[in-house]
Symmetry: C2
Subunit: 255 residues, 2 copies
């Protein structure tokens, strides 16, 4: 049973201000909650239909599931087809190990605004074993319900950090054999470039590309060529599409 106050609280944390105030976020649907229960994120409250609780009783460990009706579920759900279960989850303070970052690939997102794109990129990073994603402080919040939804659970396996890019990029200058890659219209054909298994892959926003202030940090400018080269096609690819192709190129020779 959901009290009016609880419904109000749950709906409030769909907004960033209240999420931050209460340091929690909202996770919805069978697939995502399944991934959540297999992660080290801490569940504050879990609400589910009787059917879901009966089926998943064994995987709940010490989490107390509160039974709700389909009508109550529909009142909370952000999905067009409400899906049996949702949870309130504690935001985890996430840090990175600088030695780890200097020896591996990470993704840097310069002012990403669209929640669906951020979620999709987190999923891509997870697929290609890229643990750390760095966003500028102005970017969309990783705990936005649409971001969480479009990660399809990858949010529980990757680390998204909001940082000062100037500091991070200056620190990266001290790393050994470390490149900062970025995509530019005037970059070199990514298919014929040698790509390292450590470095930063910087992606700019769709409308503005990589900001002028970070351009000088990029040591390898890349370009995904269209086909046939020099024909009139779309001016660019969507940011998550471009990130997918770039990550695939980095990993294809070591898989």
């Amino acid at each position: 049973m959901l009290s009016k106050n609880k419904i109000k609280f749950i709906n409030s944390i769909k907004k960033k201000k209240y999420r931050n105030q209460h340091q929690c976020f909202f996770v919805e649907g069978e697939k995502l909650v399944d991934e959540l229960l297999n992660s080290d994120f801490k569940v504050i409250d879990l609400f589910a239909t009787k059917e879901w609780i009966d089926e998943n009783y064994g995987s709940l460990n010490n989490i107390c599931a509160i039974e709700i009706s389909d009508d109550e579920l529909a009142k909370i759900s952000s999905l067009s087809t409400p899906n049996k279960v949702f949870a309130i989850v504690e935001q985890k303070s996430i840090s990175y190990n600088i030695d780890d970052v200097s020896e591996n690939l990470s993704i840097l997102l310069d002012n990403i605004n669209d929640p669906g794109n951020l979620g999709t990129i987190i999923r891509i990073a997870d697929w290609f074993g890229i643990k750390n994603i760095f966003c500028t402080n102005e970017s969309v919040d990783v705990f936005n319900p649409k971001v969480v939804q479009s990660t399809m659970g990858a949010i529980f396996r990757t680390k998204v950090h909001y940082v000062d890019f100037a500091e991070l990029l200056n620190e990266a200058k001290t790393f050994d054999d470390f490149n900062i890659y970025g995509t530019f219209l005037e970059g070199k054909n990514i298919y014929s470039e040698q790509l390292s298994q450590k470095g930063f892959i910087m992606m700019g926003s769709e409308s503005h590309g990589i900001s002028n202030k970070w351009k000088s940090f990029v040591s390898k400018k890349l370009f995904i060529p269209n086909y046939p080269i020099d024909t009139k096609t779309s001016e660019s690819l969507n940011i998550s599409t471009a990130t997918a192709i770039v990550c695939s190129e980095f990993r294809r020779n070591v898989i």
Copy 2:
């Protein structure tokens, strides 16, 4: 000036039933209208702010632009930030040349539902010079405003056909040296397979994959490996992400 009836009509064609009845669709925003005016699609009506008309007078040819106010624009717009201009455009009856199809790459989408994904895939196809996209009749309508928007103009340069897959796939059996490629969890590593410059690239829906009834037509089963192989990551990639990587792999050796 927009009459109430005109506003009603324009809003009605955001729905498939009325789009089909009137054989037209809705195109919005500077970038898309610019691509529209450079295409062979026929504009029925074009509405724009005074500012836009003053700037674009020269590229209008014989199209009569109707001036509207910002308030009128906001009443029609589907965008969070209304963008100066929109047009009502005639749906074009699109056909394909079977010899052309048998000598090139095409994309086949098995029941794609999400408008954003279809739009993004059209943009990918355009980028990689894939002219024809075939959808099952149950798929989302290409003239849905969200599809049109997310193509970013690629809709005016590619051809999307709604067809009976059984007929098309049976016809493809008669083509010379023609493969039907599909992605499957049990497929072969796409990075090490030889990929032809003619064939069908079949992508299944995100939740159900390629339908059982079409599986037997697939002659080359492919898989995008995750990294490191055999680690626990996301179960799959988003359909437009996967399509981007697959198309990039097909073209990378001939670019």
